[in-house]
């Protein structure tokens, strides 16, 4: 590995010979840090046997992130399974926000963050397939309602992730207190179709808030609010199933586009993983890096937030949602 720095702002300097404009963009605007190169793995049961080797091979090829798409196996579990089998690569399940129990989904994603030591992300999709709705006994939502639901679930998830202060587990042997309730808060989210009380059943995860990205493929269904206002950024989808011809130009053009949300992930989809995926990926990764179009390969211990140039979010304590308010109220003079 050519660089060992974990500081996101210095990432572009430490590597190869980046194009001058890319370096400038990365240093002048941290929101526009170099995107991370990702490869999409479809979680097909057929893929199981070679899955560990494939993930490790892609990591060795310098890929910064793996997105795990739904191919039958559950993407979050497959991402979690890959966590101890890999060391540096970020893991982003591409998974539905709509036909789910938001509390379970948020818990699963923050658990993935614990297990992977801060390498978790969420590539949010908003399901439109009626079969998925029928499987959970719900009727398909219209496009507008789907988008609203996706935004609600994303907001609820962040409130759940933010419900424990980083130092909530105090282990105060003197007072006999393990967890300090004043450092916990209720999520208290009420959306159109569901509400969540909280707090999380899981302590705050290493990244605090798991980075949420929306792939171009999913932007329409997820809606502008989830995709543009709420998400941390966009995943530029590059279908390489018919060759990798215009990849560099496309990435360059997308990064220059100042209007949309920042390109945080350059995602290679449609790779033939049975043939020679590592060869194609290694070649593309090298070319993209030489042009200064994607971030260097991640270093051990680097979180996905660091890779993406996102600051660690501070714990935001809302006095109205403090979970020990009942205790405070009961101590008020009568």
């Amino acid at each position: 590995m050519s660089t060992t720095t974990s500081s996101p702002s210095s990432v572009a300097h430490g590597h190869g010979a980046p194009a001058p404009d890319a370096t400038t963009a990365a240093t002048s605007d941290p929101g526009r840090a170099l995107p991370v190169l990702a490869v999409d793995l479809v979680a097909d049961p057929e893929l199981l046997e070679g899955l560990a080797d494939l993930a490790r091979g892609l990591e060795a090829a310098g890929v910064g992130a793996l997105t795990i798409s739904d191919g039958g196996l559950h993407p979050i579990h497959v991402a979690s399974h890959l966590a101890p089998l890999t060391r540096d690569v970020a893991l982003l399940p591409r998974t539905d926000a709509v036909y789910v129990e938001p509390f379970h989904l948020a818990t699963q994603l923050m658990s993935l963050d614990h297990i992977s030591h801060g390498r978790a992300g969420w590539l949010l999709t908003a399901e439109t397939d009626p079969a998925v709705a029928a499987a959970v006994g719900r009727t398909t939502l219209g496009l507008e309602a789907t988008a609203r639901e996706a935004a609600d679930v994303l907001e609820a998830s962040r409130l759940i992730w933010d419900s424990w202060a980083p130092d909530a587990v105090v282990r105060d042997t003197g007072r006999g207190v393990y967890v300090d309730a004043s450092r916990l808060q209720y999520a208290d989210f009420t959306g159109e179709t569901f509400s969540v009380r909280g707090p999380a059943i899981t302590p705050r995860s290493p990244q605090g808030l798991v980075p949420v990205l929306v792939a171009d493929t999913d932007r329409a269904a997820a809606g502008e609010r989830a995709a543009v206002e709420l998400a941390d950024g966009r995943a530029l989808d590059l279908d390489v199933s018919t060759g990798s011809g215009a990849v560099l130009e496309t990435v360059d053009a997308a990064r220059a586009d100042e209007d949309g949300p920042p390109v945080h992930l350059v995602r290679l989809v449609g790779l033939d993983l049975e043939a020679d995926p590592l060869g194609t990926v290694t070649e593309l990764a090298t070319a993209l890096r030489e042009q200064g179009l994607v971030a260097p390969a991640p270093t051990t211990g680097q979180s996905l937030r660091e890779q993406l140039g996102l600051p660690l979010p501070p714990y935001s304590n809302d006095p109205a949602r403090r979970s020990d308010r009942a205790r405070l109220t009961s101590k008020d003079p009568a």
Binding site: P45, L48, A52, G72, L73, H74, I76, H77, V78, S80, H81, L82, A83, P84, L85, V100, E101, P102, F103, H104, T107, Q108, M110, S111, L112, H114, I115, H117, A131, A134, A135, V136, G137, W164, A168, V169, R171, T173, R175, G176, V177, Y178, V179, A181, L184, F194, S195, V196, R197, G198, P199, A200, I201, T202, P203, S323, D324, A326, R327, S330
Partner: protein
């Protein structure tokens, strides 16, 4: 066939206590329909939230760190444990409307964690406690099958039910289920899951949900996840007898375990199943030392660390339903009446539905009779809530061999009182003694959880 061809009860090495509980032949010591395998399978139960896990020691590890789970599961696998279980709680426990501060709290999602542990282990089963009330059956079935495929046929599901609106506040459905309906609902839920695992086309319209889908994943090496159930009530026992592969019982005492085996055997036969097809694993805490005297001392030490003065008062407050902080933990039990008629649900399943008036009166009398302080009483009660095997390595090994030979249980589901080193002495000192006595496997029987629990193929 006469019993003379088989060893007699006296020959089988049973203690006098165990032999006295046997009413049948050497082949079927406790029920004519039940044949003991004479073998024990161990499970490690990482509960995550409870009062038994000690957090005050320097050796108490992080309760959510990957390293803690990895270390514990590796020890369990070294000891040829059949399974590693994770508990579940879908709302942070509260005490007097404030999240409970005195016990270990906070844990990762069970299945997400087990999917990762599947990559760190080879043989041990991976069992997730998952609630039927606050999950969608197809979503849960698909997750469990994913875990089963990722682990090469080592997944299990500990089926639990809830009906309270307090937990439901975290979920779309809220508290929509009547208490009486929870097993009916659970049974319909399990049926849908089984249809999904069999790859069937599902069209279910039940009282609580409708499902239209098609099972679309291949079967795992063991066919489907192993089903666990903790059925203590008659309705729970019937549900378990009809659906479960393994039952977690609360009965750690030999006599109670024998009674439970008889009860389950009858219900399993009534459900048209082979009694050997349902295994019984009581929940257990094991506290060991080289000698009896050291073990006694260690039990006191463990209880002191598990239940401090604050926890003792909080335990009573749970049943009294009022502030008892003015009472001295070293003094007698509070001589005041409870403010509730039933204990609350907010501390989880283990604390539900006790009639407060009756219970607090009984407790006061019991403590007074034994001359116990609040602290002493709470420490004893805290230990009494689970099956406890304490003593020297040899005593406990001999006692467990009795259970196995009699066929009272098929193993134990052990909650370590310390994370992550709480299984070390069990694996290093108890397991070899059980192996010497021929009641514990020297090697894993196979690659799947079904095989390692001694369950027949589906």
């Amino acid at each position: 066939m006469t019993t003379a061809q088989f060893p007699t009860l006296a020959d089988s090495g049973l203690s006098a206590e165990a032999a006295a509980l046997a009413t049948g032949t050497a082949e079927h010591p406790i029920h004519s329909d039940h044949t003991p395998t004479g073998q024990l399978a161990f499970g490690a139960f990482f509960q995550g939230v409870n009062s038994s896990t000690i957090w005050r020691l320097p050796s108490s590890g992080d309760q959510v760190a990957w390293e803690s789970f990895e270390s514990l599961v590796r020890t369990a696998e070294r000891g040829k444990f059949a399974a590693f279980f994770l508990g579940e709680g879908l709302r942070l426990r509260e005490h007097r409307k404030v999240p409970f501060e005195l016990d270990v709290a906070g844990r990762p999602d069970a299945q997400t964690l087990l999917a990762a542990l599947a990559a760190a282990t080879d043989r041990i089963g991976l069992v997730a406690t998952q609630n039927t009330t606050y999950n969608d059956p197809v979503d849960l079935a698909r997750r469990l099958q994913t875990l089963d495929l990722l682990s090469g046929g080592r997944a299990g599901w500990n089926i639990v039910t809830t009906d309270n609106a307090w937990t439901g506040e975290n979920f779309r459905r809220g508290g929509y289920l009547d208490h009486a309906d929870r097993y009916l609902h659970a049974e319909a839920f399990v049926e849908v899951a089984e249809q999904y695992w069999r790859g069937e086309s599902i069209s279910h319209d039940g009282a609580h949900y409708s499902v239209r889908t098609q099972g679309d994943l291949p079967a795992s090496a063991q066919g489907r996840p192993v089903l666990f159930q903790a059925g203590a009530s008659p309705a729970g026992q019937d549900f378990a007898a009809r659906t479960a592969d393994v039952i977690f019982s609360p009965h750690g005492g030999l006599e109670a375990a024998v009674d439970f085996r008889r009860s389950i055997t009858e219900r399993v036969v009534a459900a048209g199943r082979d009694p050997g097809s349902v295994k019984i694993l009581p929940g257990a805490e094991i506290i060991l030392a080289p000698t009896e005297a050291e073990a006694e001392e260690k039990v006191r030490w463990v209880r002191d660390l598990q239940v401090g003065p604050e926890q003792a008062i909080a335990l009573l407050e749970q049943y009294w339903g009022r502030d008892l902080s003015g009472f001295d933990p070293e003094g007698p039990l509070p001589d005041v009446a409870p403010e509730v008629s039933e204990s609350g649900v907010t501390r989880g399943a283990g604390f539900q539905f006790a009639k407060a008036e009756e219970l607090t009166r009984t407790w006061r009398e019991e403590a007074a009779q034994k001359g116990q302080s609040i602290l002493e009483f709470a420490r004893e009660k805290s230990g009494a809530r689970r099956g406890t095997f304490t003593g020297s390595y040899d005593t406990v090994a001999e006692r467990l061999a009795d259970f196995a030979r009699l066929g009272a249980i098929d193993g134990l589901n052990i909650t370590p009182w310390l994370i992550p080193s709480g299984l070390d002495d069990i694996v290093d000192h108890l397991v070899p003694r059980l192996q010497e006595r021929g009641v514990y496997p020297a090697e894993y029987a196979g690659a799947t959880l079904r095989e390692n629990l001694g369950l027949d193929p589906l």
